[in-house]
Symmetry: C2
Subunit: 144 residues, 2 copies
Amino acid sequence: MTAETAGRCLCFRTQRAARTLARRFDAVFRPFDLTNGQFSLLMSLHRPEAPSMSDVAPFLGMDRSTLTAALKPLERRGLVRVAVDRTDRRGRRLHLTQAGRALLARAFPIWRAEHDRLDDALRALDDAVDPNDLRAGLEALGRS
Amino acid sequence: MTAETAGRCLCFRTQRAARTLARRFDAVFRPFDLTNGQFSLLMSLHRPEAPSMSDVAPFLGMDRSTLTAALKPLERRGLVRVAVDRTDRRGRRLHLTQAGRALLARAFPIWRAEHDRLDDALRALDDAVDPNDLRAGLEALGRS
DNA sequence: TCGAATTAATTTGATATCAACTCATTTCCA
DNA sequence: TGGAAATGAGTTGATATCAAATTAATTCGA
């Protein structure tokens, strides 16, 4: 029972990989006082049009209420501004501030360098993993 | 910048997949009042010898302090017993109780049925994903 | 054998996560 | 046009997660 579950469960393995990667990217973003999740969230707001909660939550694959909470520390730091949508006052527009954009621009090269290392490490394994295949698989899981 | 990050980042995609799968398995385990993570934790204690924190935390890819916290609700419910290790009183042995074993036995078939559905869905995609390849990729990420 | 270094786990404080419930606004239809 | 239904967010309470600091026990070296 245990052998089958631990050996087979994609959920278990995904949670474990998520924790491992989160720690790794949290560490590289620490000089900017950002977590991997905050970096991804800021990135997802970096669009021509300020998106709504309902745009961003599915994009990140998270519950709307999680997004509400995740925005709080970024708002406090002035990286994000949440504004009532003028055309539908139920909605909110999530604006990346200048400070947010600036921080993102500084963090981006760090992200890229670390990700290059990760890709290289996967390709260099005895059982080499193609990062593109893995991306496709994760995409499928994220949609499941 | 945003396109590259969202398109490429394995960390982002893994976190998203982890959230999606967590919701899915949390839902199927809800009748047992278990989360996906609690199921995995209980499973990881189901061994001939009661393991220590230091055995289990790396197996789950989590920090020891996370494990300490995660054990609390399971202890309260009498599914797990944490006992000082007699041979080294710094350490703890994590025992699955009879109640824990019984709950696990009831939840297991539900897990298997749901996972069969997940595997089938991945194989049935236009861009079919081989669950075994994906497992191997996740394993590599979990070790990275 | 005594004290320093190491090891195992816990505590603390912050963020992350979800479901269920609630509040406010808009839509839609009778 | 007035009220019910639907929609978009926020709140609450529980668990999950980590790093940093702390406590307790063991090991190891002089």
